[in-house]
């Protein structure tokens, strides 16, 4: 069930220092990679079958091969804007083993011929950014990053760049705009970053965990890595389990492990007497699953087949002490707050959805509002500039679909309460509209 690769030495004291990291075998993979041809490194990455760990799950080797060959300036950007609710795996990686990420960046940059690289880290991760910066200084001093790395002909400049607190800046093109000093708004695609990314140059963008896995792949060989996990979801995955579980935290698991084992055996399941009501398998933007889905294998394809996604590997467990309406409101509010406002369906759809759920809570809704809410979600999905709109519409849509009876009961209960509980005339939009006041 658990297999330790990224977390092999994670609790080693002072692993953040170059000395300890090297003693545990660190930077051996860099030496090995730099002795190979870049194409051979890329071939290893391809052979490993590693899929992006940031959320989309796109094969990393293939994405890297989209970068045009040639002499133009190319960029490698590490997306460390870990802001998907429920996700906190990159934080632990950067905090405890920053050199793994730096080494992974160096190897990947070498493979794609990028000489400039940025780690875009979310502003709230101050501690992690400080640790990364200290580690980077050490690595530079030791010649592991910078001019002519390890005596090879390859040079790499690497910077740590702190974001200013916006979920949307985890979207790759918004991240690039933010990195360029602009308002972090997603760009229209195409052109894709592989062709025109940072400063119009070809750019590869990868998640922290993806890049931190690279040294392990080089160390053990791509084919060997591909033996872990399932055929299409190879390797290990860091899973952040949170919510109503007794042992929340990060766990490294082999992809394909049954979900029940993750939630119950690793994280201890819900508190005694409680049962799982619903769970998000891949962060708050993934459509929810119910307790009937607990036996699904936790890998990319099984999750996709179940109509949801593995996403960033953040499992949020909600037990039966919670109302689905509260969960929906929490999710919708988050996305309304984080919508950049550039495209219409996301800007207005998230805003409208929050207002509708709030009305449900105030007791003024009717079951007809559920149909409108569901149709608003349908109207958002697939119509937006980036995936933020979908990130709200998909889970909300799935909640209405799977928990409709509970929504209806809730609406009815709140209507009664609102009518019976108060003699004060309510000044609410609906009543104003109906001429009540």
């Amino acid at each position: 069930m658990t297999q330790h690769l990224l977390f092999k030495d994670i609790d080693e004291p002072r692993l953040t220092t170059l000395e300890v990291y090297r003693r545990r075998g660190g930077y051996a993979a860099s030496e090995r990679a730099l002795a190979m041809e870049p194409a051979a490194v890329l071939a290893e990455l391809n052979a490993s079958g590693l899929r992006g760990r940031g959320g989309a799950g796109f094969p990393m080797g293939r994405k890297a091969s989209f970068l045009p060959k040639g002499d133009m300036p190319k960029y490698l950007v590490c997306n460390a804007d870990e802001s998907e609710p429920g996700t906190f795996k990159d934080r632990e990686l950067m905090q405890k083993t920053p050199h793994t990420l730096i080494e992974g960046i160096a190897i990947t940059a070498y493979a794609v011929g990028a000489n400039r690289s940025y780690i875009y880290i979310r502003g709230e991760y101050e501690l992690q950014a400080d640790i990364l910066e200290a580690a980077l200084e050490e690595a530079k001093a030791a010649g592991l990053v910078g001019d002519r790395i390890l005596g090879s002909g390859f040079s790499l400049e690497l910077w740590v760049h702190r974001g200013a607190g916006a979920y949307i800046c985890g979207e790759e093109t918004a991240l690039l705009d933010s990195l360029e000093g602009k308002r972090g708004n997603p760009r229209l695609k195409p052109p894709f970053p592989a062709n025109q990314g940072l400063y119009q140059g070809p750019t590869l963008i990868n998640n922290v965990e993806t890049l931190a896995t690279v040294p392990h792949i080089i160390a053990m060989g791509g084919e060997e890595y591909a033996r872990i996990g399932t055929e299409t979801s190879t390797g290990t995955k860091l899973v952040s389990i949170s919510g109503n579980v007794r042992r929340p935290g990060n766990y490294e698991i082999e992809l394909g492990t049954p979900s029940r084992e993750l939630i119950y055996d690793l994280a201890g399941g819900p508190p005694p007497g409680r049962d799982v009501k619903l769970w998000f398998p891949g962060g708050s933007s993934s459509p929810v699953l119910t307790k009937d889905d607990l036996d699904l294998a936790y890998d990319f394809d099984t999750m996709a087949k179940a109509g949801t996604m593995l996403g960033s590997g953040a499992i949020i467990v909600v037990d039966d002490s919670n109302s689905v309406v509260d969960v929906a409101l929490k999710v919708a509010k988050f996305y309304r707050h984080e919508s950049c406002g550039k495209c219409t369906p996301c800007r207005e759809g998230t805003n409208w959805t929050v207002k509708m759920i709030e009305r449900i809570r105030s007791g003024e809704a009717t079951p007809m509002d559920l149909d409108i809410m569901a149709s608003v979600q349908t109207n958002i999905i697939g119509h937006c500039l980036c995936v933020l709109g979908d990130a709200m519409a998909m889970p909300i849509g799935s909640m209405i679909e799977k928990f409709r009876p509970e929504f209806e009961e809730y609406i009815e209960a709140r209507r009664r309460e609102a009518d019976l509980g108060s003699n004060e005339p309510l000044e609410t939009p609906l009543q104003v509209l109906q001429g009540a006041r």
Binding site: A166, I168, R183, L188, R336, H337, E338, S339, C340, G341, K342, C343, T344, P345, R347, E348, G349, T350, N351, W352, K355, M356, R359, I372, N379, G382, H383, C384, L385, P429, L430, L433
Partner: protein, 796 residues
Amino acid sequence: MPRPELEEITFSIDGREVAAPANMMLVDAAKRGDVEIPVFCYEPKLGQPVGACRMCLVEVEGIPKLQTACSTPVKDGMVVHTQTERVRDAQAAVVEFLLVNHPLDCPVCDKGGECPLQDISFGWGGGRSRFIEPKRHFQKPLELSPLVAIDRERCILCYRCVRFSQEVAEDYQLILQERGADTYVATFDGHPYVAPFSGNITELCPVGALTSRPYRFRARPWDIEQSGSVCTLCPSQCNVSFTVRDERVLRVLGRDNEGVDDGWLCDKGRFAYQAVHADERVTRPMVRDGGVLREVSWERALSEAASGLGRAKGRVGAVAGGQTTNEEGFLLQRLMREALESPNVDSSPFGSRPRADLVALANPRLQATVEDIEFAHTVLVLDCEPIDDAPILDLRIRKGVRRQRTKLAVATSRPSALDPNAIASHRFAPGGGADFARALSRGDESVREFGDALRAAGEEIVIIVGERSASAAVELAEALGLADVGGAGIIEIPAQTNGRGLREAGCVPGSGPGYAEAPDGLSTPQIAGALDAGELTSAYLLHVDPLRDLPGSGAWAVGLERATTVVAHAAFLTDGVREHATVVFPAEGHPEKEGTIVHPDGRLQRVRPAIAHQGENRPEWQVLAELSARLGVETGVMTAGMAFQQLVAAVPFYAGLTLDVIGGRGVRWPERAQATGLPEAPAPAAAPAARDVAPSNGHLRLGTFRSIWASVEVEASPALKFLTARQRAELSPDDAQRLGLRDGERVEVGVNGTRVRATVALRHDAPPGTVFLEEGVAEDAANVLSGEPLVEVKRS
């Protein structure tokens, strides 16, 4: 640079096979098949599509998700559907989303009736609202600037205005604040959005969020008529459309013409129409009686003018101002040369150049077009400031640099607004433009670096040059071999709107219509001197107030004082007219005028009347023809069209032109076969070397410029009054420090007892030892100092 090539492809839209250029955006290509795809954020004038509003979602076979037609280039064999249920649902959904926060205040909204959001809601929306929550609220309306009101509740956040500010005007003032549904358009710190082109955002806004304050609540779309013409307030000659209600101009809109203005207008062109209806405007003829100007009948004014001019036969000098049409200029030179036997007729404030230079400058092989600015390898801005002299060209230069990677080189004495976009900037002493150009032509060592930068990108070089250095620019163009390169050449920005047309109509001493040889006469500055010396006794001022518009206003004041008859065509009683004119004919405003003018790139354009004449105004061609007749020369001109026919007959390179041919978009004569009618250039006269006087004794060199806002129309327009140019002394921080002056301090600048008051304005790139003053401002204009090489700057 190569223009984009258009390869025709065919694609299918809603079952129809349609031909369109490859890679055209689907929205535009669909129009070829009579299919309209609704859009809000898409506006090709603003550059690359942003795909923000999501209104234009369509289905493209082979692509699972709906695509935004504004950003999908059309490919051969593409199959597109815009009428499937899926597309209709998606578009209706977007309309519904847009209306979520849009107030339904159409009955009191200025945009109502001409509003894309209304039209699209009607055409593509679901027809009913399911949204019953509270809408978002903002205070409304707010002043975004004195010219533009912003109603944030109506805003649909299409990004157009922000993109205009950021990517077209590049004033970087408008931004989006906050995010998500809380987003709103604003300036960074809430300061008013004041910029030369700010009014364009009212026209770009697809809803009633940004409205023109002068137009607010003036009319509904069914009250008004649109009337196309050309703005004559500066040499850009932008194509405009006047919004008219009951014989009053209420608004000016752009009339897209890629060959002229690319669809933009400056704020002067957009709002100065108010001057036409200003109370202080002259709308009846006047005659000086007992020392003051009194309104009189046309008969009295015409007979006074005719008798006064008749007595001065042979001793009259005439100057034509920039808003004079070709026809008026043509009739003026006939009046002068034929009826009054005075060949002293000029149209340049500095005095026209020798005929040889003018003919060389008109050489069709050296003419660049406005579009060439965009696609050139390199643009050289020489001795002019486009933002002041021809504002719309400033936008065109920026567009080329931003979108076509055109290189820009700037050589001026005064720091230019375009410096930040330039690969090379050079500063010379005021008046040193011609010398600099000649040094470049010779390849002098001192300017080698600049010359290398100018030539580095390629042979297609466009020189945009101010009037005073234009002749030297011809030499430079020849040295660079531009005559043989397509897409290269010169655009001379004349000092006045129709400077080029007036030259071609013969308002130049020694050069008749079509640059034909003519008896030599006095130039503008010489006329002032001759009036003072008594050699001339009468002056004819056609749309020009020498005290306001011409350099050397001191000499003019003395000269006009001595003249016995001064006939002026004027719209306002500015100083020179009020104090010196003996007869004043009311000048037509540009929305009243009928005639033709010539764009700096050789494009003849029609100025067409949008409103009836105000007050007792008459067409000025009629006044000139009547005066000619009373003075013994029957011109035979009975309509504006007949004046145009006479002009065409007299100018060989206009041969065959009719008003119909010129039409609404104009015709560039250098492109026509008849351009060969240009006479052979006589041997050029030797160019006088400019004298550069070194600053000394705490004196500074004097440079002058005329701001875009320094015009009587700006002062007379209530909306623009706040922009009225005031005298400022621009100098470098080093000089200021040496003289102990601070930014914003009041100073007196002058020499030999002639002084003007000014406010110090520090400019970092100003050349050392030089101070720049404004000409043409209402008070303390630098015109009194022109010609003085050195001045003193003192704290007042």
